[in-house]
Symmetry: C2
Subunit: 202 residues, 2 copies
């Protein structure tokens, strides 16, 4: 590594920040200079909080979501039904679905989507764990709540085939015109799909 700044310590800190996604050299330098103006104690807390998080965080044994305990709060919640499993890509999707307040079942977090372009194959996501979960609980419905992208569709189809003839209904999120969207601005594929999958007016 060629030294770019008059301080090796600065150099190394900028290089570490530059490794983060979406953070280039200039932003990294800005962040490091900001931290240099902060008190030593504050910067120590910043660094050690992140180290501790990585050291201690776990994945829930039941749903594979991020958790501080071996089993997460959602899985421990007896108010929630065990008969539905909502399969999502990551914790952000769990949070998004929780926000809707329309779901009272459990989750299963895959930890990614199959994406050959990014080198992510079926073995890199937690499908085996999902199948085990379906087999060990009374699951009536598996909701595939994956992104409406080629990666999401591929993953959904892979899981659909893997579930095979297990006695659980497999559903997926409705695709269609988003609430609030004007028809003339909806893209043609979405509009076409929403026409084919039209539902009874009630």
């Amino acid at each position: 590594m060629q030294q770019e700044y008059p301080s090796k310590l600065l150099d190394k800190a900028v290089a570490e920040f530059s490794k983060l996604p979406g953070i280039g050299k200039k932003t990294a330098l800005r962040l490091v200079l900001h931290l240099l103006k902060k008190k030593k104690e504050e910067v120590t807390i910043f660094g050690s909080t992140i180290i501790e998080m990585r050291e201690k965080i776990m994945h829930c044994q039941h749903c594979n979501n991020i958790s501080d305990e071996p089993v997460c709060d959602i899985c421990l919640d007896i108010q929630r039904t065990d008969s539905q499993i909502c399969v999502v890509e990551n914790i952000k999707d769990v949070l998004a679905i929780e926000k809707t307040q329309q779901y009272n079942g459990k989750y299963f977090v895959l930890g990614g989507l199959i994406s050959p372009m990014d080198g992510i194959g079926p073995s890199d996501i937690e499908v085996e764990g999902l199948l085990q979960r379906i087999d060990t609980t009374k699951t009536n419905e598996v909701i595939l709540a994956l992104s409406a992208t080629p990666e999401g569709d591929t993953t959904a189809f892979y899981i659909f085939r893997k579930i095979g003839n297990r006695p659980a209904e497999i559903t997926m999120l409705a695709r269609g015109v988003a609430i609030g969207d004007e028809l003339e601005y909806a893209d043609e594929i979405t509009l076409g799909r929403s026409l084919i999958n039209r539902i009874k007016f009630s």
Copy 2:
């Protein structure tokens, strides 16, 4: 602090990243989830590099620039003349001027610009250190290389008055139409100033 995520460790890490300038809650979560996918050792290196940087970095006793040693490499460089001091706001400006390869003197880093709006007064920047530096070295010229902003102008004027009748010439960067700019797109204040301060064609 209200808990937002299913993990307190995650919560705290996101909160720490959110404190950085220009990083909101969403970006912070993205960065933390990225680090969660990295190996524990890599994340430990990330955190400890930043803590070490803040702990050990110094300000050069001569020029106040960031340095790993009590006196920085530029100040130690005997090839560079002591008779010129280029006064800049921060290390980024030192790097920018070094890149031009047009300057062979020393620097003095103020560590900020006077900005009453941001609560930064004359005592928050290193003017006393600059005056001491001028008094203790044979300084023929003090170049005020500050941003062409109200804060830069205020700071330049303050330093100009503080230097008073010390026997050093005080200069400032030329202001004018940037190289490569088309005249019709130059703003009127810049164009006006470049007309008043026109120089002999040679």
